[in-house]
Structure formats: structure tokens, C-alpha cells
Amino acid sequence: MEGTGLGWIGKSVKRVEDARLLTGRGTFIDDHPPVANACHAAIVRSPLAHAKIRGYELSAALALPGVVGAITGEDVARHTKPFSVGVTAPIHYYCAATDRVRFVGEPVAVVVAKNRYIAEDAADLVQVDYEPLPVVVDPERALDADAPVLHEAVGSNLAGNRRLVYGDPDRAFRDADVVVNERFTFPKYASTPIETYGVIARWDLLDGVCTVWSNFMGPFIMHPLTARVLGLPENRLRFIVPADIGGSFGIKSSIYPYIALIALAAKRLGVPVKWIEDRREHLLASSSGTDRVAYREVAARQDGTILGMRFKWLDNVGGYIRSPEPGCSFRPTGNFVGPYRFQHLEVDASVVMTNKSLTGPNRGYACGHLYFETEGMMDRLADRLGLDPVEVRRKNLIQPDQFPYRTPSGGLYDSGDYPAAFDRALELAGYDELRREQATARAAGRYVGIGLALAVDPSVSNMGYVATALDPQFRAKPEYLAKSGAVDSATIKIDPLGRVIAILGTTPQGQGHQTVVSQIVADELGLVPQDVTVVDEMDTFTRVWSISSGTYSSRFGSVGTSAVALAARKLTAKLVDYAAHLMELPAPSLEFRDGAVRLRDGKGPSYSIKDLAGRAHWNTESLPEGMEPGLQATAVFGFTVAKAVDAEDRVNSSNTYGFIAEVMAVEVDPETAAIKILRYVTVHDAGTIINPMIAEGQIYGGALHGLGGALYEELAYDENGQLLTGTFMDYLVPTASEAPQIEIAHVVSPSPLTPLGSKGLGESSSMTVPAVIANAVSDALAPLGIRINELPMTPSKLWKAIDQAQRTPTGVSAPLASGALQPRRGVSEPRESRALRPRAGVSEPRASFSGHPRSDPTSRTSLQ
């Protein structure tokens, strides 16, 4: 941390954001009303999962003193358009129900009053006349011929289906020595940020500009979509995002229908309107990942070599398909194969609508599902072949000399050394010793298991992946416009004293962008981070942005930091030209080094950044002819590897690809079904790490999201489509007592595609923990013949499985199974083994941060 002025990248610089957040001076959406006299909205929501709306009775609500007015679905139908959806089926998704409700909690009306209390009172007085319709919540049942149909114009509940074929999967399955099948179900869960949604809308009827403040996180493609819905030109709709967002994890990308709804209320009622969602509303009707039913098949040779796989997915997107869905199926297109080399793959993806709430990105978007299934299949394959799960994985890993690696589905893995990272995880966990201790524990009748999970961690979505949902014939039509891109921008200004302001258009939700940018700029310009002020409040009227802007899909560490570095480099190039003019030397003989323009050979005079900035600002006459005055630069960085999906459905769906290798050891108490995590090791390769402290924070947080989904969290519905987990009493978020100790280590394969060699890391272990813990619990319960193919593993579900298995021994390792029937005491705290004891050890892996190369992003791989 000592300020040499160089080498800030790679240091755990303390965050500049913290001072305000620790003292209660953050600027969250509900904190600082940006407009005077905002009125408050309460949203009337459907109590039924499926019903026709016959009419509204507003008189009692409107008669309440303090009520300003109300809008209903009729206003929505009359004055807005439906949102575009990502499929071709005729699904009309408006910002509120117009003629029919399709899930409990769907907005049907908005009441606006002078304060929130009155608005809520009035919302209770709104009467909606419903004609109930039959309900379906299960995605498989929803596709039955006699199932209730949600959207009559579609004719079924299938929003879309694509069968994607890469290579020759049929032949792979014909040639296989073994084929293993499994059915998996993945739960509907949400990362439930502690700050809920918030929207403030003001409509200036004179200049026709609608300004919306919200804790929307992007992608800003939703800005043009919302403008269209509201019938506004894009330059009349202004989105402003405050500096602080209280967590998001993908969930706040789905605020945009509420932006349209509250903007409409503000327009119709002629007052600025503020809406802050409450927790019940959030759990009922914000967003979540999909619940999925998956059928998996793997074809392999006797030696464990995988020849091909088949995926059949039913993704339940709820009552409507809301963009960016069906990303649930297609976001991982490029990394469908994960870290494995097999070439033949068939993916049959169905997107199904049922009477549940709507879905969208949730931390690890679609990858938690993908790897839960794939890694579960790897263990099943190992089991079938009598091989160690480590061996099966090693046999199939993409090798370090294969990078950059093109996957059969079009992904371009930029860099990595998967076997080395996997070995590092095994070594850290003491895998062989763990196995020996497991054998001892098993012999003693204990249920100890070891799980593995490997994953390719995709970051910076290429917008083009969404079109994979469309038929190639549709995409071949002349009127179809191809889509691609992953772009971010940054502006850097040097003031007359040589200090810097960096302006971003990102929407951080706790990722510490201000800190990270101050480190990068300090290194690029030879300053200390304190010399750099970073402004980070997105405003579509004043920031340079693109439709892919926003802070999602682990973008910032990769594309955002690249824009910052490039903007700084534009400025240093200008400073060199300016100094060359002042020194009357050819520019190529000079370079910008350690905060000054110096002669390349190191001798002679130099011009410091402060000196140059003062002269350039105060005396424009000193500039060379043709040089633009001022010291500011904007860089827009876009990945050139982000291309549109091709005719064979191949697409590089992300732009940088990291790697995760995890080992977890657990013990299951057969009496209580409690799962105790004994060891959990995670190794990440996210290229150059800019701030290890922040990176580790992302890993800790991501892992706990994965654990929540694996063990506790589910938006559970009854058969009437009523949400059963509508409060934090029922929707169980892990507390500190449930959070595991994590041993973290890094390997570093700099990305050749980014100026700093960095990749994204924000989703991290959220996508691997469901897999690794399911595999560990399956391994623990193998003596009982139990394999986890369904999440969350709640104690009641697990206990039932154990109880049933104990009553009807499966014959697998019968002696242990019967031993387990004996009452056991005092084994839940394993003492006899060192490796199985929970450890607080992050200190050792931290050492692996030191001295990684950052200046040479082209060096393919360098391992600690």
C-alpha cells in the first residue's frame, strides 16, 4: 500500500466507497429525493395466479383524502405498448396486466397519494373483479395437451423451443461404450438484494422529457425498449442511476417494467411519482432465476473419454417471457461444454410459461443450472465406470496448449490452464488425504463425502447470444437485423494541477468501481489513487454509453477496466506529443513513464504530468499546431470477438472466460439431515486481479448465493399458484451462522483480449456451489444409494430420502448402510482428522497474489 506511485494494480487498496457507506451517507434511491413534492405510489397486485379481469372499482380509493389518482391496466393498454420479447411467439407483455393476470403479484393498478401510508390504504380500497381461471405451475404439466393455456394467441405454454446440434451427437451416442442418464430439477430462487427496487419518475410535459431515477443496473438495451413502450424518442427518456445501489446480483436488471409503469403514472397524474418496493412485493413479483427440469445424457468410452452429451431443458419463465429471457437457456451457449473437450452436443431447450412470477438474470445467470447438471453427470459417469471423479474430469479437460480454444458451440475461450488450476484445488484440499479419511469415517458409519466441481466462468455477455433463441431461417430473413456487442466507455480528465477525474457510465452495486478505477488510473498516469476522483452515476443524457452498458455479467473487471485503461493511454499519448513539441524532440524518442514524459534512453530532461497539465490548460499557445486543447479523453472499448450468432447456431456468448475449480468435503448427520461443510476450497482464474480484496469479496458473496440456492432458498408455490415463501421468515437467506469458511486461491492466465489481462469474476462461485455441494452430499450418502438430483436440499427433503433409504436398503455398501441405522452420538464434530476439520485458512492462498505479471497480457498463461 505504500505509495510508490506505481504498481497499484494487484494491491488490496481499501475502498473509497466505504467512508460514506460506513457513516450513513450513501445515496441510495430512497435516500435523497431528487425532485420536490414527489407523490408516492402503491401498486395493486393480483391475489390470483390466473384470472380474467372483468373490471376495476376505484371510487373508494379515489375518495380517500390525500389520494392524487390512480391508473389501471386500461390506461396501460391504451397508453403504452407491450415490451419486445426475445422469442417470436405472440406474447404481449405489458408493464401491468391489461385483460388477464397470469401470476400472483402481477401489477393491475397503481394508486398515487401524498404519502406512502395513504397510498397503501387506498390500494387496499381498489376493487378488481376477477374471473378465476385454472392454474398451472409445473413446467412439464404446462406442456400437457389439456393444461390451461396462459396466452391464447400462442396456443400453448411453449414460449419457444430450439434444438441446437453441434457435431454429430447421434454418432457419439452410437459409438459410446456407456451412456448415463439423469433427470435434474433446479429451484426458482433469487438473490434478493437487501435494498428493494425503487423508481422515481418525473414527466416534463413542456419539453416532453421523462426523467427516471432508479436502481436499475442495466443492460441499457432496456432503455430503448422502455422508450418504445412509452412512445418516446430515446433522447426524451432520461435514466439516472444513483451512485449507490444496495446489491443486485442480476435481479435489478428486471426493474424496467416498473420504470414504464411509474413513468406512466407520473404522466397520467401530472405529478412526480416515487415507488419503493417492499419486501413482500419483491419476493412476489420482482425477478428470479428459472426453475428447470433437465434431462441429461452423456456418452463415453470405457476409459472415461466423453464423446458427447445431450441436454433437454424445460425452463420455467413464469407468466410471460420478459427480456433478456430466454437467456436462461442461451446465455451459456458458447460455454455449454464447460471445461471439457468433447465435440458432439445436442441441446433441446424449451422455454415454458406457467402461473409463476417472472424470471431473469440471477447471479451466475443460467450457469448454476448448467454446472449442477454437468458436474453431476461427471460423477455419475465416474461411478458407472468405477473411476475416481478426478480422473474422469482430468481425462476430458481442455489442455493448456489448446488456447485460444473454440468450443463446438462457438465459444472462444481466451486463456487458461485448467489442469493446473484443478491440481491446485486438489492439492490445497489435500484430496488424497481427504479420501483416506473418508474411508476411515465411512468404516465408522459416518456419512462423509467429497464433491468436485469445475466450471468455465463466462464474463461480459455478447448481446448477440440472445438471437440463438430464434430459428436460423428467421435470422436469415433480409429484414432481420443481426445483433452483437459488448462495449463500455470511460472518460478521464486531467485538471491544471495534474489530478484526475474519471467518469464512468457503470452502475455498481457494491463492486467498488471507484476504488478499482483509481488504481488503474494511478498506474497508467503514475499517480496515487488519492489523486483520482471517480464519478460513477449513470445518466443516459450525459454519459457515453452503449446498449450493452450496465454492470452485469461480470462486465466491469473485463470491459469496463479496459475502457479506463485505454482512455488513460490516449491521454499519455497526447502528453508525449505535447512534450515532444515543448522539447523539440521527435515523439518516438520519448515515452510516458512513472508520471512524466521522459527520454526513452533515460537521460536528459523530463516533463511531469503536473507540469504539462498546467502549461496545457493555462497556455494553449504552447500546444503544437493542430492539437486539440484540453486534457481529456474518452475511450469506448468493444470486444471484436463479440460476433452475431452464425447459421449453425454457434456464438461466442461471452468475451472473456475464467475458470473455477472447487473441492468440498461434507458430513451429513443421518438423524437430522444437517449438512456440515468440513472443507471448501475454491480456485479461480480470472486473469489479472486488480484488487485481490475486492475479488475475494466477490467470491465469498457468490459462494453464499450458491449455497443459499443449494440448501435453503426457494420461491415455492402451491398448486394454486400461491407463493408460499413471501417473507424472509419463509424464504430463508443464509445468515453468518450458515456461511462456510472458504479457502480461496488464484491462478492467473491473463486474457490476451483486454489491455490489463483481466477477466470478470463477479458471478464466481455462485455457479459452482450448487454443483459441488450436491456432489459432496451425494458422495456422503452413496452408501445409502442416494444421489442428489434436486435442489434445494432442505433438511426435510434430505431427511425423507435418508429415512426411506434406511428403511429399504439399496444394497449399495450394505454393511455401512446398516451401520448407519444405529443411533450415533458425538460424531458430528469430527476431531480425529486434520484435513476434515473446518479451517479458517485464507492466509495461505493469499500468498498466490504476489507478483503476477500484468504488463504482458499476451503471455498466454502464467501460473503461481
Binding site: L22, T23, F28, R116, I194, R279, G510, H705, A739
Partner: protein, 157 residues
Amino acid sequence: MVTVRLNVNGVAHEGRCEPRKLLADFIREDLGLTGTHVGCEHGICGACTIMFNGEAARSCIMLAVQADGAELMTVEGLMRDGKLHPLQEAFREHHALQCGFCTPGMLITALDLLRTNPSPNDREIREGISAVLCRCTGYQGIVNAVRAAAPILVAGR
């Protein structure tokens, strides 16, 4: 409307509100102290935790009128003489916050834990702060921060 007189962070306040006004809303809207956050309004997430007559309490499930005559401390009252409280310092040092939304409730809860148990072990720290939900940090940084701050607070007593 009723009158509520109370002391917050050492400053006397008087406000008028409806009897049904939640204490959390009163603190945020009537007193303008927006550091206290609301995450669930049903007493589970702990974001709204404040010190109420010296003990941690959830301001979202109390009415403002119940605080008449009370002494409160909110996150805004932690700093002394322009310096961060040692617990705030430790949070910064150990990366105990990301988005910062749970942080005010987490700080007050941790302070309350250290008041009743000045030298907690890790299990006690985890149990103590399990009253507040954090979705960003995985709690490890918070546990580290509370552990690090405990001896400093003891020494400062």
C-alpha cells in the same frame, strides 16, 4: 397527529407524525437520517437496527410514538470528532461491506454484541451478527472486522 420528543445521537429532536408512523420512517423521513435502511419492514433483515436506550432494536417494527422520550443512536452517531469509530475502521480494513446497504444495521448489531460480549469467539460473532442479513459479503469480512475491533474497543473502555 402526535408529538414525539426524543434524543438521537445526542441531539434533541421533536417531530409530529401520525400515531401509526413506523420509527424507521420517522428517522428517515422526519429526522432526515437516511443512514438507517429498510430492507424488509417485517423484522427479519436487520438493516433498520438502531440503538434504542442502549440496546439494539429494529426500527421497522416499532412505532415512532414508542420512541417518545427515548435515546437513540443511529449509524450517523458512530463517528466521533470527525474520526471513524474503531468498528467502522475495522469494517473498512477487512472489507466487511460491499453495497453497504446492510452495513448500518450490521454496525449497530456488532456494537451491541461487543457491548454484551466484549471478547466473542468466531462462533459467537457469527451468531451475534446473524440478526442481520447481508447478501454481498458472505459475512467473512464482517466476522474478521468484529474480531479485530473487539480488543480495540476493550482497550478503549
